[in-house]
């Protein structure tokens, strides 16, 4: 995954759930990595050759189901195809048959699960921890993906503060989470540290997002939060409005390019 995953566990988790959670993360990495031979690289070989492939790996299958669903829901703004940015084929060139677990690309392409993979891994680990009794945990993949399980160890929700990207002394957004996930995507500081997100590419026309934006998305699922924050970042004005209108307390988009932000966040927002 190339990202450090941290797992902070509090409370009376049953023995072994920490290890089980870690294994869940490693299993996702093993299934979705493209940096060593994996079910995903095998799939990519088929997609590149234009030949149909059966998806035998259950984690890869679940990931594709999630992505296929999100692709529709997010108007194509989240696209897992690796070269969609350089004019290559995107997910719309993929025929995915859920019933038969078969997949095929109409034009050669390769998938790169990137940030989605981080969120998806956090989800699997959270599932493990939720099955353990009365547990309270915080998981992070890098600094941009967070998931919490249960209540804060001292009770109530988990408070987070997202610093202003241009003025680190200022807080951009404060929010509280309980049993949910948070993802931050940003173009600000382009060319600096943002290994799997910079430059951000708009899937529709392959243009680079040049605006100075930060997007924040919360969802029960880390994978969905990841995909939504990515989609928000590349969305045009109308699309962004549609996404934000539905979920004013769970999705935020800050535009530092002009004077006015698209979303003016309340100082404190509660997420359930």
């Amino acid at each position: 995954m190339g990202t450090r995953i941290e797992l902070h566990l509090f409370g009376t988790a049953e023995d072994g759930s920490m290890i089980e959670a870690r294994r869940a993360i490693e299993a996702v990495d093993d299934a979705l990595t493209i940096h060593r031979p994996s079910p995903t690289t095998a799939l990519n070989d088929s997609l590149a050759a234009g030949s149909p492939a059966a998806i035998d790996d259950p984690l890869l299958f679940d990931a594709l189901v999630e992505i296929d669903h999100a692709y529709q829901a997010m108007e194509g703004l989240f696209d897992p195809a690796a070269d969609v940015s350089t004019g290559g084929a995107g997910w719309n060139m993929v025929l995915f048959d859920r019933e038969d677990a078969r997949i095929r690309a109409l034009r050669p392409l390769a998938l790169d699960f990137g940030g989605f993979g981080k969120g998806f891994a956090l989800d699997r680990a959270c599932d493990v921890l939720r099955r353990a009794d009365r547990v309270s945990a915080l998981l992070s993949a890098g600094e941009s993906s967070i998931a919490v399980v249960g209540e804060h160890p001292l009770g109530g929700r988990w408070p987070f503060a997202i610093p202003h990207p241009l003025q680190p002394d200022r807080i951009l957004l404060e929010l509280e989470l309980e049993d949910s996930a948070l993802s931050i995507s940003s173009t600000v500081g382009e060319g600096t540290y943002a290994p799997d997100r910079a430059p951000m590419i708009r899937p529709g026309d392959g243009t680079i997002v040049t605006g100075r934006r930060t997007a924040v998305a919360c969802a029960r699922s880390g994978a969905r939060a990841e995909m939504m924050s990515t989609a928000l970042l590349v969305a045009d004005g109308d699309q962004a409005k549609r996404f934000l209108d539905g979920e004013p307390a769970r999705r935020f988009l800050f535009d530092f390019t002009g004077e006015t932000g698209i979303s003016v966040p309340p100082a404190e927002t509660v997420i359930r």
Partner: protein, 421 residues
């Protein structure tokens, strides 16, 4: 150092080599190491060596040969009187000295030659020596052309003689230990080696006034006698690259120039090359003669870590932890609940990681000496130490194909017509 101390140092050194070469996969990757460590030369008759070329390197070799327990310098040769005189000072009085290597070969009384002359004469001297029935230890790089390198290998095979080339890193316990740790998977699959040898020196030697010795003394600077940085420096590191990447490159592209030392030299004072290896792996090489900041190093990079053998260190890839989360843990312990700042590091520049790493160990090396003990045993048994010549041959070919790529401005493929070893 008194003899007993030296013997102790020597023994612990061999121990290190043994330890380093005992790892999984090492028997195949460095088959000569076990041979080197187990070769326990007794105080039998020493193998008699005739040293050809008593310049800078030749004299260093003479000193190292004197430390071995199975070799002795039995004759020396140099066609430049001032250097022959310096060589004489290092050997017992009465050691025969020659101005011509053929005269030395004709005189007999040696089992093998040690060649430390300029690159372009290595091949002829090697072939003459084999034809005279003696074994050959020759400095790197092997020869000025790939065809000459091949001819040396072929002649050794035809005459059933030992040909060993001076690539001392293969006997260096730090390198052996580094390889062992790579084989154990500690730094993950190695996908790129970034190697460089940067010096700040003209490489030019003073020539006696009024003499016509410029091309002889400064042989490194002229095309007839040298491929410059490629055969003098890069060849060592390309040997390391091929060794750690387990095969020679498939192709190379490169660019060279005379950029700083515009003093009439013919060889590049600056080179930059990319060697492709199977599976998309690469060795990125630079060498130059007017900036020493980055010195000599091979950065062996895997997905889990990096090894820098010259520095003797191994580094693990660990994405930095999130300090805010550590702080949160402490807060909870102290019964405090406050907002966790998150997302901040996303905007920090991605600077090189400067963790100190961990030592690969062992500071005192005697690899040059060990090379000769191994050579001595090989000469005695008539059987070369396994694996060495193949490494050296491929290293020389790799450096010469790099020269070709720079000269032609075109990618050059690994030659298909090499001699099998």
């Amino acid at each position: 150092m008194i003899d007993k101390d030296f013997d102790l140092t020597r023994r612990s050194f061999i121990d290190h080599v043994l330890k380093a070469s005992a790892g999984a996969g090492m028997a195949a990757a460095a088959p000569w190491a076990a041979f080197a460590a187990s070769a326990a030369p007794g105080q039998k008759d020493r193998v008699r060596l005739g040293v050809i070329g008593t310049g800078d390197r030749g004299r260093t070799l003479i000193r190292n040969i004197a430390k071995t327990r199975n070799c002795a310098v039995a004759a020396i040769c140099d066609d430049y009187e001032p250097n022959l005189v310096k060589g004489r000072a290092l050997v017992p009085g009465g050691t025969p000295a020659f101005a011509d290597h053929r005269a030395m070969l004709d005189a007999g009384g040696i089992d093998a030659v040690v060649i430390a002359t300029p690159l372009h004469v290595h091949a002829a001297q090697t072939l003459d020596s084999f034809d005279a029935g003696v074994h050959v230890w020759c400095e790197k790089a092997m020869a000025r052309t790939i065809a000459d390198c091949s001819a040396m290998v072929k002649r050794a095979q035809d005459r059933r003689k030992v040909l060993q080339i001076g690539h001392q890193r293969m006997f260096n316990p730090t390198y052996l230990n580094a390889l062992k740790r790579v084989k154990a998977g500690e730094i993950g699959p190695v996908t790129q080696i970034r190697a460089s040898w940067h010096r700040n020196t003209s490489w030019r030697r003073a020539v006696p006034a009024g003499s016509d010795l410029e091309r002889k003394i400064n042989w490194r600077l002229y095309r007839d006698s040298s491929a410059g940085l490629m055969t003098e420096l890069a060849t060592h590191q390309l040997q390391v690259g091929n060794w750690f990447l387990e095969a020679p490159p498939t192709r190379v592209i490169g660019s060279g120039s005379i950029c700083f030392w515009k003093d009439g030299r013919e060889v590049y004072d600056q080179v930059a090359l990319v060697f492709d290896y199977a599976g998309g792996r690469k060795l990125v090489y630079t060498s130059l003669l007017n900036n020493a900041r980055y010195g000599c190093e091979e950065q062996i990079q895997g997905s889990k870590g990096t090894i820098e053998p010259e520095l003797g260190r191994i580094y693990q890839e660990k994405p930095p932890g999130v300090p805010a989360l550590r702080k949160m843990g402490e807060d909870v312990q102290a019964g405090r609940k406050r907002p966790v700042p998150i997302g901040g590091a996303t905007w920090f520049p991605e600077l090189p990681v400067t963790t100190p790493g961990e030592s690969l160990g062992w500071g005192e090396y005697d690899e040059t000496m060990l090379q000769f003990e191994v050579f001595g045993e090989a000469v005695r048994s008539g059987v070369p130490a396994p694996g060495l010549l193949r490494q050296a041959y491929h290293a020389s070919v790799t450096s010469l194909m790099g020269e070709d790529a720079m000269d032609s401005g075109r990618p050059v493929d690994w030659p298909s017509s090499l001699v099998d070893i």
